[in-house]
């Protein structure tokens, strides 16, 4: 198990947003955390990347604790977080946003190489390379956010609601590229989604979160087939 979370509790003031959550994601797998609004999905992800401070519990990545590691240092341990709502810098160009992702590596040559990789994965970004990020469409911005995270050469990718506010066709494309990336770059992925069906379809592992607690863990296909999950989260 490469990502191991156990008994993690996170508070927002007096509210317990994440309550005794334990989960494990094996290397190279794509795990989807689904659940309704307010289930604690985003808080869980933000705790993993050092943006929210956990109250108690442990978080390990590759056998080392990542609890208390600052967000800016996490990327140095191979963890990239794409936060909710198109995580790009609007005032910078596409190229600058991508280079920002590689900035910690301090290696212009490698950064250029990664830039070429990312633009070959997302040709649309290549076409718009000198444009400011705020001129992009929602889908393109999400591609840019993911591209920026990939530029850091991560081993673990944390994705927060990449489908948010996108058209169905675009969502499909984004999910497909996440799946492709997971395989081609041998990533371990933790994907948080309200779009439960879309997420479970590409996931290996599914985790259902409700009111801050894990209520179901299973392989993704079984969850899709589970009547209770279908009724609560898949809407049929």
């Amino acid at each position: 198990m490469s990502l191991n979370v156990s008994n993690l509790t996170v508070h927002h003031g007096a509210i317990c947003a994440v309550n005794q959550v334990s989960l494990a994601v094996p290397t190279g797998q794509l795990a989807a955390i689904i659940g309704s609004n307010g289930a604690g999905k985003t808080t869980l992800l933000r705790a993993l990347s050092g943006l929210n401070k956990p109250t108690s519990g442990t978080m390990n990545w590759m056998g080392e604790s990542i609890k208390g590691v600052k967000a800016e240092n996490l990327v140095r341990r191979g963890i990239s977080h794409v936060s909710e709502g198109k995580s790009v810098v609007p005032a910078l160009t596409v190229k600058e946003n991508l280079l920002l992702g590689a900035i910690w590596r301090r290696n212009a040559k490698e950064a250029k190489q990664s830039l070429e990789e990312v633009t070959s994965i997302f040709p649309r970004l290549g076409e718009r390379i000198e444009q400011r990020a705020d001129t992009l469409s929602g889908g393109e911005r999400q591609m840019l956010a993911i591209g920026r995270a990939i530029m850091a050469k991560p081993k673990l990718l944390l994705l927060d609601e990449p489908s948010l506010g996108l058209a169905p066709l675009v969502i499909e494309q984004i999910f497909q590229s996440i799946k492709d990336l997971t395989q081609s770059m041998r990533l371990t992925v933790l994907l948080v989604e309200q779009n439960a069906m879309g997420a479970l379809k590409i996931a290996d592992l599914g985790i259902v979160l409700n009111l801050g607690k894990v209520v179901a863990v299973d392989n993704a296909q079984s969850l899709i087939a589970d009547p209770a999950v279908r009724a609560a989260y898949l809407g049929y």
Binding site: S49, L51, K70, A71, E72, N73, L74, V75, R76, S80, H81, V82, S83, S87, V88, V89, P90, A91, L92, E96, L99, L100, G101, I103, W104, R106, R148, A152
Partner: protein, 302 residues
């Protein structure tokens, strides 16, 4: 005709200095969202270090470099040792927007006091490196002198260096990204706290350069209460606001607009109207175009 040329050249010379000062305020605003009223005080303190260097070496250029380094260090120490703690403790509630401003005003007083204590309150003079006698066009002598030309060239060179730094280096990318999206920058691995300190340091260096140029082109010596530095504070701030407070190009344009408007007021109206004109310009701009001449329509985000 000669009058018009004189006025124009005077305007862009003083405008260039205001621009540099405005850029230093913009840099601080962008790094930490603080309007730093102590900026001119910090510049003045740096100029005293510059003055000491000029006294010892006889070279204005060494003095300029020393002042800029001192300015960077002073600013970095203030950000790291004082502002950061202050901002952490007053980040919430009604005090959040006011506390930093009051603090910088207090800092201004403190710096002036320290200068008085160390160097005394009498004028000290930094000798201009070039002649203050104007160039000649035929029979006419311009007020534009080699010294003013030097000022323009120095500001231009500093602006080019800064543009290169901001557009072409990783530090510049980190500075711009952190100014707009600190959280995303952190997730990308940028040490935002360090970048903030460096932003202040750059601002301190720019302010020190503006101060040194103001000191040699101004009407006399420096002292803790010198009028030249009050002008630098007020006009630098107004220029930054005209430019939208968030944009370096805006600060440059704002400084130039202000310099020219004030020069023309001085020549064609009256010297006693200069201050009034500056503030009227500020107020009109805030009403007509609060986002600044360069700022985006959506306004700045906090």
């Amino acid at each position: 005709m000669i009058n018009l040329l004189n006025t124009f050249l005077n305007g862009i010379t003083s405008g260039a200095i205001y621009s540099l000062m405005a850029i230093s305020m913009v840099l601080v605003w962008r790094s930490t969202r603080v309007v730093n009223f102590a900026q001119a005080g910090m510049a003045l303190l740096s100029c005293y270090f510059g003055y000491e260097a000029v006294q010892r070496t006889g070279s204005f250029w060494i003095g300029l470099v020393v002042a800029m380094i001192a300015g960077a260090l002073v600013a970095a120490v203030i950000e790291f040792g004082f502002m950061r703690i202050l901002l952490k403790h007053s980040s919430q509630g009604p005090i959040a927007s006011v506390a930093p401003i009051i603090a910088t005003l207090g800092l201004l007083g403190l710096i002036k006091g320290v200068i008085g204590l160390v160097w005394g309150n009498a004028d000290v003079v930094i000798e201009p490196p070039f002649s203050v006698v104007g160039f000649k066009i035929g029979e006419n002598t311009l007020t534009f002198s080699p010294l003013k030309l030097l000022t323009l060239v120095t500001v231009t060179v500093l602006l080019l260096i800064m543009t290169w730094l901001f557009q072409r280096t990783n530090l510049g990318l980190a500075l711009r990204a952190s100014a707009h999206e600190p959280e995303i920058s952190r997730l990308a691995g940028v040490k935002v706290d360090l970048v903030r300190t460096l932003g202040w340091a750059l601002a301190g260096a720019a302010g020190a350069a503006a101060g040194m140029l103001q000191a040699i082109t101004g009407s006399g010596g420096m002292n803790p209460d010198s009028i030249e530095f009050r002008l630098l504070l007020v006009f630098g701030f107004i220029a930054a606001v005209i430019g939208g407070l968030d944009s370096m190009i805006g600060a440059l344009v704002g400084g130039m607009i202000l310099g020219l408007v004030l020069a023309f007021t001085l020549t064609y109206a009256s010297g006693s109207l200069v201050f009034i004109t500056a503030f009227v310009l500020l107020l009109v701009l805030l009403i007509v175009r609060p986002q600044g001449v360069i700022g985006q329509k959506a306004g700045r985000r906090a």
